[in-house]
Symmetry: C2
Subunit: 115 residues, 2 copies
């Protein structure tokens, strides 16, 4: 990875960008986390996902405490350079609640639209 | 939809939450947009996705200009209540560049990790 990859990201006012985490084979969306330049640099070079924890104000390499490691399988930047999509192989549950994904629990039951 | 669905979201300092947009059948992640309470209310009740455009500072019902409508197929809130996952049926390209998704163009080519 060259340094300019990280420099190309448009960070928000807090120096962060949202990172969508997707299981590489099933394509399930597992969670959304936040990365700063250093978290992205680590994620792109270490084969493991590292976030910036906004609540704890520290780097958080997913799985170091829980064992629920995210192995990196791909990484993409969106068209306006401010959102990341990280493909991973998730070990165990992605969600701290023990749910498989962070979106399992709360169905908002919208009105469905049709073509 | 009851009003409390919208009230349950934890909005950021700008009154917004990120909304991950995913094709309901292929599970491709198409884009990430931003919603305020009114955009979410419209999205949950109209069968069409409405965002808040941060650059234009106005509501933006996807497809009204481009024809690239997003029909709502599902909506979920994550475990800490600050991120939305919207399942849609995308008409045409999701990206304003004409790409199928906003993540097609820029592969960051990370180091891959293995279990």
């Amino acid at each position: 990875m060259s340094a300019d990859v990280v420099d190309r990201v448009t960070w928000n006012a807090d120096g962060l960008a949202p990172a969508i985490i997707q299981q590489f084979d099933s394509h399930e969306v597992l969670m959304l986390g936040w990365m700063d330049a250093e978290a992205l640099r680590r994620t792109l070079t270490e084969g493991r996902v590292t976030f910036w924890s906004r609540s704890r104000q520290e780097y958080w390499r997913k799985g170091d405490t829980s064992g629920h490691v995210q192995y990196v399988k791909g990484a993409r930047l969106d068209c306006d350079g401010d959102t990341l999509l990280i493909a991973v192989d998730q070990v165990g549950a992605a969600c701290h609640t023990g749910d498989h994904t962070c979106f399992d629990a709360d169905d908002l039951a919208p009105t469905v639209g049709e073509r």
